[in-house]
């Protein structure tokens, strides 16, 4: 009983990809879905996708960003690293002493 069903369905499976190749990649997939199984399956798929999205949001998959209530302080030259400042500290100290007229 199983064998005849498989042989009957075999040609269908090989036929659809051939159709895809003639009608174009990607576009064919959307067309063959409703043709074979009807709009009910696509409706289910939509529902499943919506469920998955809702599930992801509930599980914390989505990151919510809230505006801070405190004023944002813009750090001056954020890309300057502390170790650079520490390296230059002694040199800069000498410079200030050597140029005491402008400091």
């Amino acid at each position: 009983m199983k064998n005849p069903r498989l042989t009957l369905q075999g040609p269908n499976a090989t036929f659809l990809p051939m159709q895809d190749e003639t009608s174009g990649i990607g576009h064919g997939c959307l067309e063959t879905g409703p043709l074979v199984s009807g709009p009910l399956v696509s409706g289910r798929r939509m529902a499943a996708m919506a469920m998955a999205a809702a599930g992801a949001a509930m599980l914390g998959g989505c990151i919510s960003v809230n505006a801070p209530d405190k004023p944002i302080v813009i750090e001056l030259n954020i890309n300057i690293r502390q170790e650079v400042i520490y390296r230059l500290a002694e040199d800069a100290g000498n410079t200030i002493e050597e140029n005491a007229d402008i400091f």
Binding site: L76, N77, Q82, V84, L88, A89, A92, I96, A100, F103
Partner: protein
Amino acid sequence: MNTTVIRRAILGIAAGTLAIGGLATAAHAQRDPAYDAARSSGSVGEKMDGYLGIVGSESSELRRLVNDINIKRRAVYAQKAQAANATLEEYALTAGCLAIARTSPGEKYQAPDGTWQTRTSAPPMRDSRCPA
């Protein structure tokens, strides 16, 4: 004997001129009275970026004084930064940290939030990256 005396005299004169030269540079490296007055009155203050800023109302005279010092500072920073293989901004920020730390009580400085503060006997509020 004579030659050694002459040599000693020449060395002495040389040492004397060096000492005078040292004194001359020490005398040169003092703040202009107008700048010193502006600092102690709090009309100018040390900014975080290593330059001088005007606190409160701006006059053309004050602007000229501040610009003059900042141009000189920038030239010094540029030269020293190149020698230390650092950027001008890095060197200036480091100098700003130190200049704020060296302010005297009553003088103005810029806090990390950008506001002008008056230096007290307590340590100034500085950028977290500033060296101790």
